[in-house]
Symmetry: C2
Subunit: 297 residues, 2 copies
């Protein structure tokens, strides 16, 4: 099967590596408007061939779009315009609602399966690509009732080849949940990095930064070209999540200042996140027993 | 040398392991008012003997206090009261100013070296103790001019035995810098865990939590009995750090809503934390070439 990957960065490159290794793809075609990335991807054998966008789509059985969410909106109609009736198209964007709305009436809408694999690192570009990046993680598929069954089946099979478990929800639900669970931690890390840099000199930060600080601000290293468009496209829910977070921070601050009992009860509630996160770990579940959850009511 | 460790949890237990392994200590005496922890520490050979507080101090050449900062304030005078003229006393608390002020006029003040090793995990108790927990990390020594030179030298030698680099600053400077670099990330993580748990159900958090969310809220698993007293003792600077953080969050939120250019410039500034954190890593510096920095003006 010919798989064309649009965007040969961390996500696209990591998908390419695992689809080749698992035998899911026999031929990998790369598309990237960054000439240096495209050459690098060829050189380190992430893809077999690099083609311009339209030709890459025409030659594909499956097209995987793995570029920033603003760029997805710019090209998704062109990709569907050039897809043949049998071609499956998916995207890996962290937001879904605006993308789905944009091509709601496209004649090839059924060829398209909107998706979001929940994995990544703070690094970018083809050299950041990692084997096994997605293993044991969750892939969200949105509005599955609007995709043709063969196209949906192929994308499910692709995520299984990546070792992922699958959750189904509406584009609106995915944008709301990822606002709180993924986008908010990134926004919080950017603001924390700015707050600390505003108050402490670089040398002191470097010397005193222990594991806790490093893990908390790690996400602030993430590239603005990827995250800026996410914050803009999911603006409504991200603003809501920031508002809720600021309210909780203010409440915690007030409790430290004036109400020690309340401070302890807020901390006790927060530590419950341990039992949420340390439950049965999907990464330990074999693919055959994969969790498939339907969140859509 | 007899070393008495008061508090056989993550920090005290980890120190005991490395002091024994490095040969710094020939006999390790444990003191812990939690009977189960004391028995566990004996059983897993973290210490050679368990004694009551006063006797443990009397038998020691060096006393290391590794308990929550409110408990340090409760016992530090008793420890110094029972210390002989040659005994060195240090504490591992994350706050320093209130502790130092409390025993400023104690006749054994020169025996005491206030310190703060910047390392830890979100786990607690003797079974959480790890070998090598402190290697390559920074230990802060405060107000060194108020400690006797032999006592200061012994604590420097102890941190070197743990593989640590040493920074010197005033208790006030340490409390301010750790408020921003250590205490604020913990407060932020507690509030983030509460915000997300308030808005998303446990099953969705568990399924969607990727590496980014996990690393950001990891600190929210930390035990309130350790962190509550830190927030209270360093209240002034923690409230300042939370105020600065909330201001930066609000500014970032406003920029997402109304000013995309500003949003990108705030993100660009935040990503500079990468160059701060990815500089020459002290953990790669051999102990002989250790960094010793004097921040005190």
């Amino acid at each position: 099967m010919n798989v064309t990957i649009i965007g040969l960065g961390l996500i696209g490159g990591s998908i390419a590596k695992d689809l080749k290794k698992s035998g899911f793809s026999t031929k990998l075609i790369g598309v990237d408007n960054n000439e240096a990335h495209a050459q690098k991807a060829l050189e380190i054998k992430i893809v077999d061939e690099v083609l311009p966008l339209e030709e890459g789509v025409k030659r594909a059985d499956l097209v995987v779009i793995a570029i920033p969410v603003d760029k997805i909106k710019s090209i998704i109609a062109t990709v569907l315009d050039n897809a043949s009736s049998g071609t499956t198209v998916t995207d890996m964007g962290s937001t879904k609602k605006e993308i789905v709305e944009l091509i709601a009436d496209h004649p090839r809408r059924k060829n398209y399966v909107p998706a979001h694999p929940m994995s990544g690192t703070e690094n970018s570009g083809p050299t950041a690509a990692l084997e096994g990046l997605f293993a044991g993680k969750i892939a969200i598929i949105c509005n599955q009732e609007h995709s043709g069954p063969q196209h949906l089946a192929l994308i499910e099979k692709m995520f299984q080849a990546l070792g992922m478990n699958i959750a189904y929800m509406s584009a609106d639900e995915q944008d709301h949940s990822t606002a709180f669970i993924s986008h908010l931690p990134h926004a919080a890390a950017y603001a924390l990095a700015n707050a600390v840099q505003a108050k402490e000199d670089r040398s002191i930060i470097f010397d005193l930064a222990s594991g806790g600080f490093r893990s908390t601000v790690r996400l602030a290293k993430s590239t603005p070209t990827m995250w800026g468009p996410i914050f803009q496209q999911n603006k409504e829910y991200i603003l809501e999540s920031l508002e809720v977070y600021i309210k909780h921070l203010q409440e915690f601050k007030d409790s430290i200042e004036n109400d020690e009992d309340k401070m302890y009860s807020l901390m006790d509630n927060a530590t419950k996140i341990r039992s949420v996160l340390d439950g049965k770990n999907p990464s330990l579940i074999k693919n055959e027993e994969k969790i498939v959850k339907f969140y859509t009511k």
